[in-house]
């Protein structure tokens, strides 16, 4: 009984999901992930924030206390507005998929019943956040130092993708050296030995000690 149902619905669901993936992603994770590696000025949130914050001094003054020079500057209303909007969009997208999955009824809940409830909750909470965006003082602006974060994420992704192809050792050493020397401004004569040593220890621990089948060269 179950199999035919699944077959019948599979193409439709798959198609919907795929299209859904662009608008909302299976989750915000993916859509926001796409945002950050673009650099310190992701489309949407940050430029808006950076732009408005200067003008919108209200939230600012209370956000970054003078006694803490290291505190990241606070983000303004626009950031929270965008946060709320993104959350609502995720909720709306997820709700569309839930409708497609089949809402069922209270006496016979379908696969979409629960996702529909949860995505509606997401939608409403997102709208509330957007509506109250002026009242939040807990967001930080993404500063231009976030270039480092973006570079870190990109190199990490590349290294991880290389691991199944060439083993984990070389990408790991390269990753460690990049993070230490480029992102962390350590000297190469320090970072290279540490990187090699760390990878050797990880190799010994995981491959030999714990017998985990990590993709490897040696």
């Amino acid at each position: 009984m179950m199999a035919p149902t699944e077959n019948k619905n599979a193409p439709a669901t798959g198609g919907y999901d795929r299209s859904g993936d662009h608008s909302h992603g299976p989750d915000a994770a993916r859509s926001s992930a796409g945002r950050s590696p673009n650099g310190p000025e992701p489309e949407g949130a940050a430029p808006g924030a950076a732009g408005t914050v200067a003008a919108d001094g209200t939230g600012e003054s209370s956000d970054a206390p003078a006694s803490d020079p290291d505190a990241a500057p606070g983000a303004g209303r626009a950031t929270n507005l965008v946060c709320g909007a993104v959350i609502s969009l995720v909720g709306a997208g997820a709700f569309a998929v839930a409708l497609d999955l089949g809402l069922g009824s209270l006496s016979r809940p379908g696969p979409g019943t629960w996702p529909a409830i949860v995505s509606l909750m997401l939608l409403v909470v997102g709208l509330l956040i957007a509506a109250r965006s002026a009242h939040f003082t807990d967001s930080e602006r993404i500063t231009k130092d976030a270039v480092g974060v973006a570079a870190g994420v990109i190199t990490l992704t590349v290294a991880v993708q290389l691991m199944p192809l060439v083993g984990f050792e070389l990408p790991s050493v390269a990753l460690l050296v990049f993070w230490m020397s480029v992102l962390g401004q350590e000297k190469l004569r320090l970072s290279v030995p540490i990187a090699v040593l760390t990878v050797a220890v990880v190799h010994l621990t995981f491959v030999h000690g714990l017998a985990v089948p990590v993709p490897r060269l040696f």
């Binding site: 699944e6 006694s67 929270n80 998929v97 209270l106 006496s107 949860v118 991880v160």
Partner: protein
């Protein structure tokens, strides 16, 4: 009650190899937990892969070691760097850091270790006695009860957590949604997989926790660390003197009771109980040192309370199968990986495992105390290693660890995606804990919700026939309504509610004020040099003048 299984459990535990695993766990937990910003949840998630290939009993023992080591690691950074690993140890920083600045960090750490030990042990003893009883009671729970209980748990975490409640609710809703990804348990239909075969079985918990707690923290620091480097203050001897212990005894006693009672609340009252203990000690303080200038009582009480509460939160996990906070959520999945399903059936079906979980906590606690004092010097050394060197190493360990979950790169990519999500959440004021907890509880909640609907044949009013579920739902409503009512009351009569410190509203507001307290409070900002490495006291320039913040969620 029959204590034979408890005692038999100890015999297994005290075998040398098990002691060794506990030791490794404590050391590893402290080593990772001492890294600034990585709290117990992150520490356990990062170290979980170590236990994958082990047998259940040694791995549980090691986990207990990691748990206590990780918590204590947070205390070390709170005292020496004023960088608490979690909100609960932020309270310790209030008095611990001034002590460290006076060169008495060792005293604070020593008393902290003793206080943690006593708080933890008191809680485990009570846990030993109470857990089987609650588990027996919980065997009666059906789907409606579980639905109500899970809802209450998620709500409590969302409202007791850091910062804005709306944002916490958004995180919780997202967590619930993420939990639906994959094959539907009832119909077999694929949900939110976007045709991706690797998502068929849904997302796994551990890479998500590694991402939002571990990698996100490292990415966040990557942006900040260019500006400043911080060095821990030198410490004196750690072994507390007799006079110090005498001063601390009463706060420890009060903290233990308080911590256990508040810790029983689902939602994990570690922060609230530490706050409450700090408030009480501050009121009662007749010692030579005023609070805010490094009063040892302000370390002893809250540390005991927070450890008692942290341990007490094992009760809902082991007896109901419901993790009460993010750390318990990670422990929950760690036990699941070992084939142990925490819940009411565990005591009955597998008493050996149940008691070894509890007994290994005794062991972890003792090993921590015996180890912590001599080893503190070593762990303090870790703080001198620059984060530019430590962070990449942790990232590598996280990646390899994530790979070992199912031996595929997909989990590593999940860590990266959630690392970025966690980074953005941190930037934009969203606490990751509700997301993680809701994700863990999501499928349990959905299953029981759907079962309840089937049971009631769609007629939700039939829940009135279930008194326990109704009580839980009543509590749920109370938690929702009290802060709103308080806010209304405060708007009308600010003079009345302003002094209120113990209500749910104050509890919800607490962490924000804690952040303020560690950052810019009049007590702690007395030092002229300020704190370059301090976490930004997000959105609050006013500091709590008492231990706990003024009631009411609104900010002037």
């Amino acid at each position: 009650m029959d204590f034979t299984p408890v005692i038999e459990g100890f015999e297994v535990l005290l075998q040398p190899e098990n002691l060794l695993f506990c030791l490794i766990g404590v050391v590893a937990g402290m080593a990772i937990g001492v890294l600034p910003g990585l709290g117990p949840a992150a520490t356990i998630a990062i170290l979980l892969p170590l236990t994958y290939s082990m047998d259940p009993i040694p791995s549980i023992i090691m986990l207990a070691g990691i748990f206590y080591g990780g918590i204590y690691g947070g205390t070390v950074t709170a005292v020496l760097l004023k960088l608490p690993g979690e909100t609960a140890s932020a309270i310790t920083a209030l008095e611990g850091y001034p002590l460290a600045q006076k060169g008495q960090g060792g005293k604070a750490l020593g008393v902290g270790a003793v206080a943690s030990f006593i708080g933890g042990t008191v809680s485990i003893v009570v846990l030993t006695l109470v857990a089987p009883v609650i588990a027996g009671f919980a065997l009666e729970f059906g789907p409606p009860e579980y639905t109500a209980l899970t809802l209450l748990g998620i709500l409590l975490v969302a409202t007791i957590g850091n910062g804005s409640k709306l944002k916490a609710l958004a995180g919780a809703a997202l967590g619930l949604l993420l939990a639906t990804v994959g094959r539907d348990a009832f119909t077999g239909e694929l949900r939110y997989t976007a045709g991706n075969l690797e998502l068929t079985d849904g997302l796994q918990f551990v890479p998500i926790a590694m991402g939002v707690f571990g990698l996100a923290e490292i990415l966040y620091n990557l942006e900040r660390r260019r500006k400043s480097t911080s060095m821990p203050v030198a410490t004196d001897r750690v072994l507390p003197s007799k006079a110090t212990m005498k001063e601390s005894a009463a706060p420890i006693g009060r903290g233990g009771v308080l911590g256990f009672l508040l810790g029983l609340l689902p939602g994990g009252g570690a922060t609230v109980s530490a706050m409450a203990s700090y408030g009480i000690e501050k009121r009662l303080n007749k010692g030579s040192t005023p609070f805010g200038k490094g009063a040892i009582q302000g370390v002893a009480g809250p540390e005991t309370a927070n450890n008692a509460a942290a341990t007490a939160s094992f009760i809902p996990l082991l007896t109901l199968g419901i993790p009460a906070n993010a750390t318990m959520a990670v422990m929950f999945s760690a036990l699941l990986i070992q084939g142990i399903t925490p819940g009411p059936q565990l005591v009955a079906t597998d008493p050996d495992l149940f008691w070894s979980v509890i007994n290994s906590m005794y062991l972890g606690n003792i090993v921590l105390l015996i180890l912590a004092i001599p080893l503190i010097g070593v762990f303090v050394r870790i703080l001198y290693v620059r984060s530019s060197i430590l962070s990449p190493i942790i990232v590598l360990i996280v990646c390899i660890g994530a790979y070992t979950i199912s031996n595929r790169i997909f989990e590593v990519m999940v860590v990266i995606v959630f690392g970025v999500l966690g980074y953005l959440m941190k930037k934009y004021g969203f606490d990751p804990a509700p997301l993680v907890l809701a994700f863990v509880l999501g499928s349990l909640l959905e299953d029981n919700f759907r079962r309840s609907l089937l049971m009631f044949d769609g007629d939700v009013t039939r829940i009135t026939g279930h008194p326990i579920a109704m009580t839980l739902l009543g509590l749920f409503l109370l938690v929702v309504l009290i802060p709103i009512l308080l806010k209304l009351a405060k708007a009308r009569r600010p003079d009345l509610v302003g002094a209120d410190q113990t209500t749910a509203g104050a509890g919800a507001k607490v962490p924000a004020s804690v952040a303020a307290g560690t950052g810019t409070g009049p007590d702690t900002s007395a030092s002229p040099d300020g704190d370059p490495q301090d976490h930004p006291p997000k959105g609050s320039e006013e500091a709590p003048d008492e231990g706990s913040g003024p009631g009411g969620p609104s900010r002037p």
